[in-house]
Protein backbone atom coordinates (compact mmCIF):
# COMPACT_ATOMS: atom_id res chain seq x y z
CA UNK A 1 0.00 0.00 0.00
CA UNK A 2 1.01 3.61 -0.53
CA UNK A 3 1.36 5.94 2.44
CA UNK A 4 -1.97 7.55 1.52
CA UNK A 5 -3.73 4.15 1.40
CA UNK A 6 -2.21 3.11 4.74
CA UNK A 7 -3.15 6.24 6.64
CA UNK A 8 -6.64 6.50 5.19
CA UNK A 9 -7.32 2.78 5.79
CA UNK A 10 -6.41 3.19 9.46
CA UNK A 11 -8.81 6.09 9.74
CA UNK A 12 -11.62 4.46 7.76
CA UNK A 13 -11.62 1.41 10.00
CA UNK A 14 -11.25 -0.83 6.94
CA UNK A 15 -8.89 -1.30 4.05
CA UNK A 16 -9.43 1.31 1.36
CA UNK A 17 -7.59 1.52 -1.92
CA UNK A 18 -6.88 4.18 -4.53
CA UNK A 19 -10.04 5.51 -6.14
CA UNK A 20 -12.38 4.53 -3.30
CA UNK A 21 -14.38 7.11 -1.39
CA UNK A 22 -13.94 6.80 2.36
CA UNK A 23 -15.33 8.56 5.40
CA UNK A 24 -12.34 8.88 7.71
CA UNK A 25 -11.85 10.04 11.28
CA UNK A 26 -9.87 13.24 11.73
CA UNK A 27 -7.10 13.71 14.32
CA UNK A 28 -6.81 17.48 14.10
CA UNK A 29 -8.86 20.23 12.43
CA UNK A 30 -7.92 23.87 12.15
CA UNK A 31 -8.94 27.03 10.38
CA UNK A 32 -7.37 30.47 9.97
CA UNK A 33 -8.94 33.89 10.38
CA UNK A 34 -9.93 34.11 6.71
CA UNK A 35 -11.76 30.78 6.66
CA UNK A 36 -12.68 30.34 10.35
CA UNK A 37 -15.62 32.77 10.55
CA UNK A 38 -17.38 31.06 7.63
CA UNK A 39 -16.64 27.63 9.14
CA UNK A 40 -18.19 28.72 12.45
CA UNK A 41 -21.27 30.05 10.64
CA UNK A 42 -21.60 26.70 8.84
CA UNK A 43 -21.29 24.82 12.16
CA UNK A 44 -24.08 27.00 13.55
CA UNK A 45 -26.17 26.60 10.38
CA UNK A 46 -25.91 22.81 10.73
CA UNK A 47 -27.32 23.20 14.22
CA UNK A 48 -24.30 22.16 16.28
CA UNK A 49 -23.70 23.87 19.60
CA UNK A 50 -20.58 21.90 20.45
CA UNK A 51 -17.50 20.74 18.63
CA UNK A 52 -16.56 17.07 18.37
CA UNK A 53 -13.15 17.29 20.03
CA UNK A 54 -12.35 20.74 21.49
CA UNK A 55 -8.70 19.94 22.29
CA UNK A 56 -8.08 19.01 18.65
CA UNK A 57 -9.93 21.95 17.13
CA UNK A 58 -7.79 25.05 16.65
CA UNK A 59 -8.83 28.46 15.40
CA UNK A 60 -5.74 30.32 14.22
CA UNK A 61 -5.56 34.10 14.03
CA UNK A 62 -2.52 34.27 11.76
CA UNK A 63 -3.39 36.16 8.57
CA UNK A 64 -4.47 39.48 10.07
CA UNK A 65 -2.01 39.29 12.92
CA UNK A 66 -2.32 41.84 14.38
CA UNK A 67 -5.43 43.06 12.64
CA UNK A 68 -5.01 46.04 10.29
CA UNK A 69 -8.78 46.73 9.96
CA UNK A 70 -11.75 46.78 12.29
CA UNK A 71 -13.70 44.33 10.09
CA UNK A 72 -10.96 41.76 10.70
CA UNK A 73 -10.80 42.61 14.40
CA UNK A 74 -14.51 41.81 14.51
CA UNK A 75 -13.81 38.43 12.89
CA UNK A 76 -11.22 37.81 15.61
CA UNK A 77 -13.72 38.71 18.34
CA UNK A 78 -16.22 36.30 16.74
CA UNK A 79 -13.69 33.43 16.63
CA UNK A 80 -12.39 33.99 20.16
CA UNK A 81 -15.95 34.01 21.44
CA UNK A 82 -16.85 30.76 19.66
CA UNK A 83 -13.67 29.05 20.88
CA UNK A 84 -14.38 30.08 24.44
CA UNK A 85 -17.98 28.86 24.33
CA UNK A 86 -17.03 25.47 22.86
CA UNK A 87 -13.75 24.97 24.71
CA UNK A 88 -11.84 24.85 21.40
CA UNK A 89 -8.35 26.21 21.06
CA UNK A 90 -7.44 29.70 19.89
CA UNK A 91 -3.95 30.30 18.56
CA UNK A 92 -4.01 34.05 18.91
CA UNK A 93 -2.26 36.89 17.12
CA UNK A 94 1.51 36.51 17.52
CA UNK A 95 1.60 32.73 17.97
CA UNK A 96 2.36 32.18 14.30
CA UNK A 97 1.22 30.54 11.08
CA UNK A 98 -1.12 27.59 11.53
CA UNK A 99 0.97 25.09 9.54
CA UNK A 100 4.17 25.98 11.38
CA UNK A 101 2.56 25.91 14.83
CA UNK A 102 0.86 22.53 14.31
CA UNK A 103 4.10 21.06 12.90
CA UNK A 104 5.78 22.15 16.13
CA UNK A 105 3.08 21.07 18.53
CA UNK A 106 0.49 18.70 17.10
CA UNK A 107 1.08 16.81 13.85
CA UNK A 108 2.51 13.30 14.04
CA UNK A 109 3.19 10.52 11.54
CA UNK A 110 0.03 8.67 10.49
CA UNK A 111 -2.41 11.47 11.43
CA UNK A 112 -5.26 12.74 9.29
CA UNK A 113 -5.12 16.54 9.52
CA UNK A 114 -7.76 18.79 7.99
CA UNK A 115 -7.14 22.51 7.65
CA UNK A 116 -9.19 25.27 6.06
CA UNK A 117 -6.12 26.61 4.30
CA UNK A 118 -4.62 25.27 1.11
CA UNK A 119 -1.11 24.96 2.58
CA UNK A 120 -2.24 22.50 5.25
CA UNK A 121 -0.35 19.93 3.16
CA UNK A 122 2.81 21.19 4.96
CA UNK A 123 2.07 18.49 7.58
CA UNK A 124 2.88 15.82 5.00
CA UNK A 125 6.53 16.45 5.86
CA UNK A 126 5.88 14.65 9.15
CA UNK A 127 4.17 11.72 7.46
CA UNK A 128 0.63 12.94 8.14
CA UNK A 129 -2.20 12.90 5.61
CA UNK A 130 -2.65 16.67 5.93
CA UNK A 131 -4.86 18.37 3.37
CA UNK A 132 -6.50 21.72 2.78
CA UNK A 133 -10.26 22.12 2.42
CA UNK A 134 -12.82 24.93 2.38
CA UNK A 135 -14.79 26.21 5.34
CA UNK A 136 -17.73 23.82 4.97
CA UNK A 137 -15.58 20.67 4.93
CA UNK A 138 -13.67 22.02 7.93
CA UNK A 139 -16.97 22.77 9.70
CA UNK A 140 -18.12 19.17 9.21
CA UNK A 141 -14.75 17.85 10.47
CA UNK A 142 -15.00 20.10 13.54
CA UNK A 143 -18.61 19.12 14.26
CA UNK A 144 -18.45 15.40 13.46
CA UNK A 145 -14.76 14.52 13.72
CA UNK A 146 -14.79 13.09 10.22
CA UNK A 147 -14.56 13.94 6.54
CA UNK A 148 -15.14 12.21 3.22
CA UNK A 149 -12.12 11.75 1.00
CA UNK A 150 -11.33 9.96 -2.21
CA UNK A 151 -8.22 7.84 -1.74
CA UNK A 152 -5.86 9.54 -4.19
CA UNK A 153 -3.56 8.00 -6.76
CA UNK A 154 0.06 8.51 -5.74
CA UNK A 155 2.86 9.93 -7.85
CA UNK A 156 6.22 8.90 -6.45
CA UNK A 157 8.95 11.54 -6.62
CA UNK A 158 12.41 10.04 -6.30
CA UNK A 159 15.22 12.53 -5.66
CA UNK A 160 18.75 11.13 -5.74
CA UNK A 161 22.20 12.66 -5.41
CA UNK A 162 23.80 15.36 -3.27
CA UNK A 163 22.29 18.82 -3.44
CA UNK A 164 24.84 21.28 -4.85
CA UNK A 165 25.93 24.23 -2.70
CA UNK A 166 23.24 26.94 -2.72
CA UNK A 167 20.45 24.55 -3.68
CA UNK A 168 17.72 23.67 -1.18
CA UNK A 169 14.31 22.07 -0.71
CA UNK A 170 12.70 25.12 -2.32
CA UNK A 171 14.66 24.53 -5.52
CA UNK A 172 13.61 20.85 -5.58
CA UNK A 173 9.92 21.68 -5.36
CA UNK A 174 10.07 24.61 -7.81
CA UNK A 175 11.93 22.40 -10.27
CA UNK A 176 9.31 19.65 -9.83
CA UNK A 177 6.39 22.05 -10.36
CA UNK A 178 8.09 23.38 -13.48
CA UNK A 179 8.46 19.82 -14.70
CA UNK A 180 4.92 18.51 -14.03
CA UNK A 181 2.99 21.82 -14.12
CA UNK A 182 0.60 23.59 -11.75
CA UNK A 183 -2.04 20.94 -12.44
CA UNK A 184 0.42 18.06 -12.78
CA UNK A 185 -0.76 16.35 -9.61
CA UNK A 186 -4.37 17.53 -9.35
CA UNK A 187 -6.28 15.28 -6.96
CA UNK A 188 -3.19 13.10 -6.49
CA UNK A 189 -0.88 12.39 -3.59
CA UNK A 190 2.82 13.06 -3.99
CA UNK A 191 5.19 10.76 -2.12
CA UNK A 192 8.81 11.88 -1.81
CA UNK A 193 11.62 9.34 -1.50
CA UNK A 194 15.24 8.77 -2.49
CA UNK A 195 18.67 9.45 -1.05
CA UNK A 196 18.40 13.24 -1.21
CA UNK A 197 15.12 13.19 0.67
CA UNK A 198 16.53 10.86 3.35
CA UNK A 199 19.21 13.45 4.11
CA UNK A 200 16.91 16.45 3.93
CA UNK A 201 16.06 17.90 7.35
CA UNK A 202 12.50 18.68 8.38
CA UNK A 203 12.65 22.37 7.43
CA UNK A 204 13.40 21.49 3.79
CA UNK A 205 10.77 18.76 3.80
CA UNK A 206 8.17 21.20 5.07
CA UNK A 207 9.01 23.62 2.25
CA UNK A 208 8.47 20.83 -0.28
CA UNK A 209 5.27 19.49 1.33
CA UNK A 210 3.90 23.04 1.64
CA UNK A 211 4.08 23.56 -2.12
CA UNK A 212 2.58 20.17 -3.07
CA UNK A 213 -0.70 22.03 -3.55
CA UNK A 214 0.97 24.30 -6.12
CA UNK A 215 1.16 21.23 -8.36
CA UNK A 216 -2.52 20.62 -7.57
CA UNK A 217 -1.80 17.78 -5.12
CA UNK A 218 -4.05 16.83 -2.25
CA UNK A 219 -1.13 15.90 -0.07
CA UNK A 220 2.69 15.76 -0.21
CA UNK A 221 3.80 12.82 1.88
CA UNK A 222 7.19 11.89 3.33
CA UNK A 223 7.95 8.58 5.06
CA UNK A 224 8.80 9.13 8.72
CA UNK A 225 12.42 8.40 9.66
CA UNK A 226 15.36 9.62 11.73
CA UNK A 227 14.81 13.23 10.57
CA UNK A 228 11.19 13.06 11.72
CA UNK A 229 12.31 11.65 15.07
CA UNK A 230 14.91 14.44 15.40
CA UNK A 231 12.26 17.10 14.76
CA UNK A 232 9.83 15.60 17.28
CA UNK A 233 12.63 15.34 19.86
CA UNK A 234 13.51 18.97 19.29
CA UNK A 235 9.86 19.93 19.72
CA UNK A 236 9.73 18.07 23.04
CA UNK A 237 7.40 15.29 21.94
CA UNK A 238 9.56 12.26 21.10
CA UNK A 239 6.68 9.93 21.99
CA UNK A 240 4.76 11.11 18.92
CA UNK A 241 7.19 9.35 16.59
CA UNK A 242 6.09 6.32 14.66
CA UNK A 243 7.84 4.76 11.71
CA UNK A 244 5.73 4.80 8.60
CA UNK A 245 6.46 4.22 4.94
CA UNK A 246 4.82 2.77 1.87
CA UNK A 247 5.16 -0.93 1.13
CA UNK A 248 7.73 -2.11 -1.43
CA UNK A 249 4.90 -3.40 -3.64
CA UNK A 250 2.82 -0.21 -3.44
CA UNK A 251 1.21 0.76 -6.73
CA UNK A 252 2.06 4.23 -8.00
CA UNK A 253 0.43 6.04 -10.86
CA UNK A 254 3.89 7.03 -12.03
CA UNK A 255 7.38 7.79 -10.81
CA UNK A 256 9.23 11.04 -11.48
CA UNK A 257 13.01 10.99 -11.09
CA UNK A 258 14.97 14.08 -10.13
CA UNK A 259 18.76 14.19 -10.18
CA UNK A 260 19.65 16.59 -7.37
CA UNK A 261 23.17 17.11 -8.69
CA UNK A 262 21.79 18.87 -11.76
CA UNK A 263 19.63 21.34 -9.82
CA UNK A 264 20.39 25.06 -9.68
CA UNK A 265 18.86 27.90 -7.69
CA UNK A 266 15.38 28.04 -9.21
CA UNK A 267 12.87 30.87 -9.60
CA UNK A 268 9.12 30.92 -10.32
CA UNK A 269 8.34 33.94 -12.50
CA UNK A 270 5.10 35.98 -12.66
CA UNK A 271 2.25 35.10 -12.59
CA UNK A 272 2.25 31.29 -12.31
CA UNK A 273 4.11 29.00 -9.95
CA UNK A 274 4.99 26.70 -12.85
CA UNK A 275 6.63 29.51 -14.85
CA UNK A 276 10.07 28.24 -13.85
CA UNK A 277 13.58 29.45 -14.73
CA UNK A 278 16.95 28.78 -13.17
CA UNK A 279 18.82 31.74 -11.74
CA UNK A 280 21.21 31.47 -14.71
CA UNK A 281 18.35 32.08 -17.14
CA UNK A 282 16.63 34.89 -15.28
CA UNK A 283 18.51 37.89 -16.70
CA UNK A 284 18.39 41.32 -15.08
CA UNK A 285 15.35 41.67 -12.80
CA UNK A 286 15.49 44.67 -10.45
CA UNK A 287 13.71 44.03 -7.15
CA UNK A 288 11.94 46.56 -4.91
CA UNK A 289 11.08 44.18 -2.07
CA UNK A 290 12.55 40.96 -0.76
CA UNK A 291 10.19 38.92 1.40
CA UNK A 292 11.63 36.21 3.65
CA UNK A 293 9.23 34.07 5.67
CA UNK A 294 5.75 32.48 5.30
CA UNK A 295 4.54 28.91 5.80
CA UNK A 296 6.91 27.85 3.02
CA UNK A 297 10.22 29.29 4.31
CA UNK A 298 9.65 30.92 7.69
CA UNK A 299 11.74 28.58 9.80
CA UNK A 300 14.95 29.08 11.76
CA UNK A 301 16.99 27.17 9.16
CA UNK A 302 15.68 29.51 6.43
CA UNK A 303 16.73 32.57 8.39
CA UNK A 304 20.10 31.04 9.20
CA UNK A 305 20.80 30.43 5.50
CA UNK A 306 19.91 34.06 4.71
CA UNK A 307 21.98 35.36 7.65
CA UNK A 308 25.01 33.36 6.56
CA UNK A 309 24.92 35.11 3.17
CA UNK A 310 24.10 38.59 4.48
CA UNK A 311 26.41 38.75 7.47
CA UNK A 312 28.51 41.91 7.50
CA UNK A 313 26.94 43.27 4.29
CA UNK A 314 24.48 46.11 3.66
CA UNK A 315 21.17 45.97 1.89
CA UNK A 316 20.98 47.44 -1.61
CA UNK A 317 19.79 51.07 -1.37
CA UNK A 318 16.87 50.55 -3.78
CA UNK A 319 15.57 47.41 -2.09
CA UNK A 320 13.73 46.77 1.17
CA UNK A 321 13.76 43.41 2.93
CA UNK A 322 10.93 42.17 5.12
CA UNK A 323 11.38 39.19 7.43
CA UNK A 324 8.40 37.39 8.97
CA UNK A 325 9.04 34.42 11.28
CA UNK A 326 6.68 31.47 10.93
CA UNK A 327 6.01 31.23 14.64
CA UNK A 328 6.83 32.73 18.00
CA UNK A 329 9.14 29.80 18.59
CA UNK A 330 11.08 30.54 15.39
CA UNK A 331 11.22 34.24 16.27
CA UNK A 332 12.63 33.52 19.73
CA UNK A 333 15.16 31.01 18.41
CA UNK A 334 16.31 33.48 15.75
CA UNK A 335 16.63 36.20 18.38
CA UNK A 336 18.56 34.01 20.79
CA UNK A 337 21.10 32.64 18.32
CA UNK A 338 21.85 36.05 16.77
CA UNK A 339 20.29 35.29 13.38
CA UNK A 340 17.71 38.05 13.71
CA UNK A 341 20.38 40.52 14.80
CA UNK A 342 22.38 39.76 11.64
CA UNK A 343 19.32 40.28 9.46
CA UNK A 344 18.37 43.58 11.13
CA UNK A 345 21.96 44.88 11.02
CA UNK A 346 21.97 44.15 7.32
CA UNK A 347 18.90 46.36 6.92
CA UNK A 348 15.95 43.95 7.08
CA UNK A 349 12.67 44.86 8.71
CA UNK A 350 11.16 42.30 11.13
CA UNK A 351 7.41 41.68 11.29
CA UNK A 352 5.43 39.72 13.88
CA UNK A 353 5.00 35.96 13.26
CA UNK A 354 2.16 35.26 10.83
CA UNK A 355 1.21 35.14 7.17
CA UNK A 356 2.16 38.79 6.74
CA UNK A 357 2.39 40.15 3.22
CA UNK A 358 1.91 36.86 1.36
CA UNK A 359 -1.83 37.42 0.87
CA UNK A 360 -1.59 41.16 0.18
CA UNK A 361 -3.31 42.07 3.41
CA UNK A 362 -0.65 44.14 5.19
CA UNK A 363 3.02 44.37 6.20
CA UNK A 364 4.51 44.69 2.73
CA UNK A 365 1.75 45.27 0.16
CA UNK A 366 3.08 45.92 -3.36
CA UNK A 367 2.27 48.97 -5.49
CA UNK A 368 1.86 49.39 -9.25
CA UNK A 369 4.87 48.13 -11.16
CA UNK A 370 6.71 46.92 -8.06
CA UNK A 371 8.72 43.71 -8.12
CA UNK A 372 9.06 41.33 -5.18
CA UNK A 373 11.29 38.31 -4.69
CA UNK A 374 9.51 36.21 -2.08
CA UNK A 375 10.10 32.88 -0.39
CA UNK A 376 6.34 32.33 -0.19
CA UNK A 377 4.58 29.51 -2.07
CA UNK A 378 2.44 31.51 -4.52
CA UNK A 379 2.88 34.32 -7.06
CA UNK A 380 -0.53 34.85 -8.67
CA UNK A 381 -1.29 38.23 -10.20
CA UNK A 382 -2.28 40.75 -7.54
CA UNK A 383 -1.69 38.35 -4.65
CA UNK A 384 0.53 40.76 -2.71
CA UNK A 385 -1.39 43.92 -3.59
CA UNK A 386 -1.53 45.73 -6.91
CA UNK A 387 -2.52 43.59 -9.91
CA UNK A 388 0.20 45.53 -11.71
CA UNK A 389 2.95 44.17 -9.44
CA UNK A 390 5.23 41.19 -10.09
CA UNK A 391 6.11 38.33 -7.73
CA UNK A 392 9.09 36.01 -8.21
CA UNK A 393 9.55 33.02 -5.90
CA UNK A 394 12.87 31.64 -4.72
CA UNK A 395 14.76 30.16 -1.79
CA UNK A 396 15.93 32.09 1.30
CA UNK A 397 19.43 32.01 -0.22
CA UNK A 398 18.21 33.65 -3.43
CA UNK A 399 16.29 36.15 -1.28
CA UNK A 400 19.46 37.08 0.61
CA UNK A 401 21.62 37.43 -2.51
CA UNK A 402 18.87 39.50 -4.13
CA UNK A 403 18.68 41.87 -1.15
CA UNK A 404 22.42 42.50 -1.45
CA UNK A 405 22.37 43.21 -5.18
CA UNK A 406 18.95 44.82 -5.62
CA UNK A 407 18.22 42.42 -8.48
CA UNK A 408 17.52 38.69 -8.60
CA UNK A 409 20.91 37.20 -7.80
CA UNK A 410 22.71 33.88 -7.61
CA UNK A 411 23.46 32.91 -4.00
CA UNK A 412 26.21 30.46 -4.94
CA UNK A 413 28.87 33.15 -5.19
CA UNK A 414 28.29 34.03 -1.50
CA UNK A 415 28.62 30.47 -0.22
Amino acid sequence: MTLAEKILSEHAGKEVRTGEIAVVSVDLTYTQDGTGPLAVRKIQEMGFKEVYRPTKTIFFLDHAAPSPRFELSNDHVFLRDFAERTGSQISDVGCGISHQVVAESEVKPGDVVIGADSHTCTGGALGAFATGVGSTDAAVAIALGKIWLRVPETIRIVVEGNLPIGVYGKDIILHLIGKIGAAGATYKALEFTGGTIQHLEMSGRMTIANMAVEAGAKVGLFPSDRMTQDWLNRMGRPQDFRKLSSDPDAIYEKTVMINAKELKPTIACPHQVDNIKTVDEIGEVKVDQVYLGTSCNGRLEDFQIAAMILKGKKIHPNTRMIVTPGSRRVYLEALKDGTMETLIEFGALAMPPGCGACVGLHEGVLGDGEVCLATQPRNFKGRMGSPKSFIYLGSPAVAAATAIEGKIADPRKYL
Binding site: E71, F78, S118, V133, A183, T186, Y187, G360, K381
Partner: protein, 160 residues
Protein backbone atom coordinates in the same frame (compact mmCIF):
# COMPACT_ATOMS: atom_id res chain seq x y z
CA UNK B 1 -22.13 32.73 -21.05
CA UNK B 2 -18.84 34.31 -20.01
CA UNK B 3 -15.58 32.85 -21.20
CA UNK B 4 -12.27 32.92 -19.35
CA UNK B 5 -8.87 31.32 -20.02
CA UNK B 6 -6.69 28.78 -18.22
CA UNK B 7 -5.46 28.93 -14.63
CA UNK B 8 -8.05 31.30 -13.18
CA UNK B 9 -7.01 31.21 -9.52
CA UNK B 10 -9.04 31.95 -6.41
CA UNK B 11 -6.95 35.14 -6.19
CA UNK B 12 -8.41 36.10 -9.58
CA UNK B 13 -11.93 35.15 -8.52
CA UNK B 14 -11.79 37.08 -5.27
CA UNK B 15 -8.46 38.77 -4.44
CA UNK B 16 -6.84 38.30 -1.03
CA UNK B 17 -6.87 42.05 -0.47
CA UNK B 18 -10.64 41.82 0.11
CA UNK B 19 -9.95 39.56 3.09
CA UNK B 20 -11.67 42.11 5.33
CA UNK B 21 -14.96 41.68 3.45
CA UNK B 22 -15.22 37.93 3.98
CA UNK B 23 -17.83 38.37 6.68
CA UNK B 24 -19.81 40.71 4.37
CA UNK B 25 -20.59 38.39 1.46
CA UNK B 26 -22.90 40.75 -0.52
CA UNK B 27 -20.16 43.41 -0.55
CA UNK B 28 -17.42 40.83 -1.25
CA UNK B 29 -19.33 39.41 -4.21
CA UNK B 30 -19.19 42.79 -6.02
CA UNK B 31 -15.46 42.20 -6.54
CA UNK B 32 -15.82 38.90 -8.39
CA UNK B 33 -13.17 38.44 -11.11
CA UNK B 34 -12.55 42.18 -11.22
CA UNK B 35 -8.89 41.96 -12.31
CA UNK B 36 -9.80 39.74 -15.21
CA UNK B 37 -12.89 41.69 -16.15
CA UNK B 38 -13.50 45.02 -14.39
CA UNK B 39 -17.16 45.50 -13.51
CA UNK B 40 -17.99 41.81 -14.02
CA UNK B 41 -20.46 41.81 -11.13
CA UNK B 42 -22.52 44.46 -12.96
CA UNK B 43 -22.47 42.51 -16.22
CA UNK B 44 -23.69 39.09 -15.07
CA UNK B 45 -27.32 38.06 -14.83
CA UNK B 46 -28.97 35.25 -12.91
CA UNK B 47 -28.73 31.98 -14.78
CA UNK B 48 -25.50 32.88 -16.62
CA UNK B 49 -22.59 30.46 -16.93
CA UNK B 50 -18.86 30.89 -16.40
CA UNK B 51 -16.85 28.88 -18.91
CA UNK B 52 -13.09 28.47 -18.62
CA UNK B 53 -10.04 26.44 -19.58
CA UNK B 54 -7.79 24.25 -17.45
CA UNK B 55 -7.24 24.26 -13.69
CA UNK B 56 -10.03 26.66 -12.78
CA UNK B 57 -9.99 27.68 -9.11
CA UNK B 58 -6.38 26.84 -8.29
CA UNK B 59 -4.79 28.32 -5.19
CA UNK B 60 -6.27 29.30 -1.87
CA UNK B 61 -8.89 27.22 -0.05
CA UNK B 62 -11.18 30.25 0.35
CA UNK B 63 -14.69 28.90 -0.14
CA UNK B 64 -15.68 32.52 -0.70
CA UNK B 65 -14.53 32.04 -4.31
CA UNK B 66 -17.30 29.49 -4.93
CA UNK B 67 -19.78 31.50 -2.87
CA UNK B 68 -19.31 34.80 -4.74
CA UNK B 69 -19.84 32.98 -8.04
CA UNK B 70 -23.08 31.55 -6.73
CA UNK B 71 -24.15 34.88 -5.21
CA UNK B 72 -23.71 36.56 -8.57
CA UNK B 73 -26.36 34.22 -9.94
CA UNK B 74 -24.06 31.96 -11.93
CA UNK B 75 -25.87 28.67 -12.63
CA UNK B 76 -22.78 26.51 -13.10
CA UNK B 77 -19.07 26.72 -13.86
CA UNK B 78 -17.86 24.78 -16.89
CA UNK B 79 -14.12 24.21 -17.31
CA UNK B 80 -11.72 21.81 -18.95
CA UNK B 81 -10.46 20.93 -15.46
CA UNK B 82 -10.74 22.16 -11.88
CA UNK B 83 -8.41 22.48 -8.93
CA UNK B 84 -9.31 20.07 -6.15
CA UNK B 85 -10.26 22.27 -3.19
CA UNK B 86 -12.30 24.65 -5.34
CA UNK B 87 -14.14 21.69 -6.90
CA UNK B 88 -15.21 20.45 -3.44
CA UNK B 89 -16.13 23.95 -2.37
CA UNK B 90 -18.46 24.33 -5.37
CA UNK B 91 -20.44 21.21 -4.56
CA UNK B 92 -20.48 21.99 -0.85
CA UNK B 93 -21.98 25.37 -1.76
CA UNK B 94 -24.50 23.80 -4.14
CA UNK B 95 -22.82 25.18 -7.30
CA UNK B 96 -22.34 22.60 -10.07
CA UNK B 97 -18.74 22.48 -11.36
CA UNK B 98 -18.69 20.67 -14.68
CA UNK B 99 -15.52 19.34 -16.27
CA UNK B 100 -16.03 19.20 -20.03
CA UNK B 101 -14.51 20.26 -23.34
CA UNK B 102 -15.07 24.01 -23.39
CA UNK B 103 -12.83 24.67 -26.39
CA UNK B 104 -15.59 25.44 -28.86
CA UNK B 105 -17.68 27.64 -26.59
CA UNK B 106 -17.60 31.32 -27.52
CA UNK B 107 -18.36 34.25 -25.25
CA UNK B 108 -22.05 35.08 -25.37
CA UNK B 109 -23.22 31.66 -26.60
CA UNK B 110 -26.68 30.67 -25.37
CA UNK B 111 -26.32 27.36 -23.58
CA UNK B 112 -28.64 25.11 -21.66
CA UNK B 113 -27.51 22.66 -18.99
CA UNK B 114 -29.06 19.25 -18.43
CA UNK B 115 -27.34 18.11 -15.25
CA UNK B 116 -29.08 14.74 -14.94
CA UNK B 117 -28.41 13.77 -18.54
CA UNK B 118 -24.80 14.97 -18.45
CA UNK B 119 -25.14 17.26 -21.43
CA UNK B 120 -25.02 20.91 -22.42
CA UNK B 121 -26.82 22.20 -25.48
CA UNK B 122 -25.24 25.17 -27.19
CA UNK B 123 -28.19 26.92 -28.89
CA UNK B 124 -25.95 29.46 -30.65
CA UNK B 125 -23.79 26.80 -32.27
CA UNK B 126 -26.56 24.19 -32.39
CA UNK B 127 -24.27 21.62 -30.79
CA UNK B 128 -24.45 19.21 -27.86
CA UNK B 129 -21.52 18.78 -25.47
CA UNK B 130 -21.46 15.79 -23.15
CA UNK B 131 -19.78 15.48 -19.78
CA UNK B 132 -19.16 12.49 -17.49
CA UNK B 133 -21.76 11.96 -14.77
CA UNK B 134 -20.92 13.31 -11.31
CA UNK B 135 -19.67 10.75 -8.84
CA UNK B 136 -22.41 9.35 -6.57
CA UNK B 137 -21.04 11.41 -3.66
CA UNK B 138 -21.20 14.65 -5.64
CA UNK B 139 -24.72 13.80 -6.83
CA UNK B 140 -25.80 13.17 -3.28
CA UNK B 141 -24.36 16.47 -2.02
CA UNK B 142 -25.95 18.44 -4.88
CA UNK B 143 -29.33 16.76 -4.52
CA UNK B 144 -29.35 17.50 -0.79
CA UNK B 145 -28.65 21.16 -1.62
CA UNK B 146 -25.02 21.27 -0.45
CA UNK B 147 -23.06 19.64 2.36
CA UNK B 148 -24.55 21.79 5.13
CA UNK B 149 -28.07 20.70 4.19
CA UNK B 150 -26.90 17.08 4.00
CA UNK B 151 -25.48 17.18 7.52
CA UNK B 152 -28.54 19.05 8.81
CA UNK B 153 -30.69 16.25 7.45
CA UNK B 154 -28.69 13.28 8.77
CA UNK B 155 -26.63 14.80 11.60
CA UNK B 156 -23.89 12.70 10.05
CA UNK B 157 -22.03 12.08 6.79
CA UNK B 158 -24.14 9.56 4.89
CA UNK B 159 -22.28 9.64 1.62
CA UNK B 160 -20.82 6.15 1.23
Amino acid sequence: MWKFGDAISTDHIIPGRYFYLRSDLPELSKHILEYERPGFSEMVSTGDFIVAGHNFGLGSSREHAAIVIKMNGIQAVLAKSFARIFYRNCFNSGLPAIACDTEKFREGDEIELFVEEGKIFNHTQNEMVFFPAFSPVMKRILSDGGLVEHVKKYKDLKLV
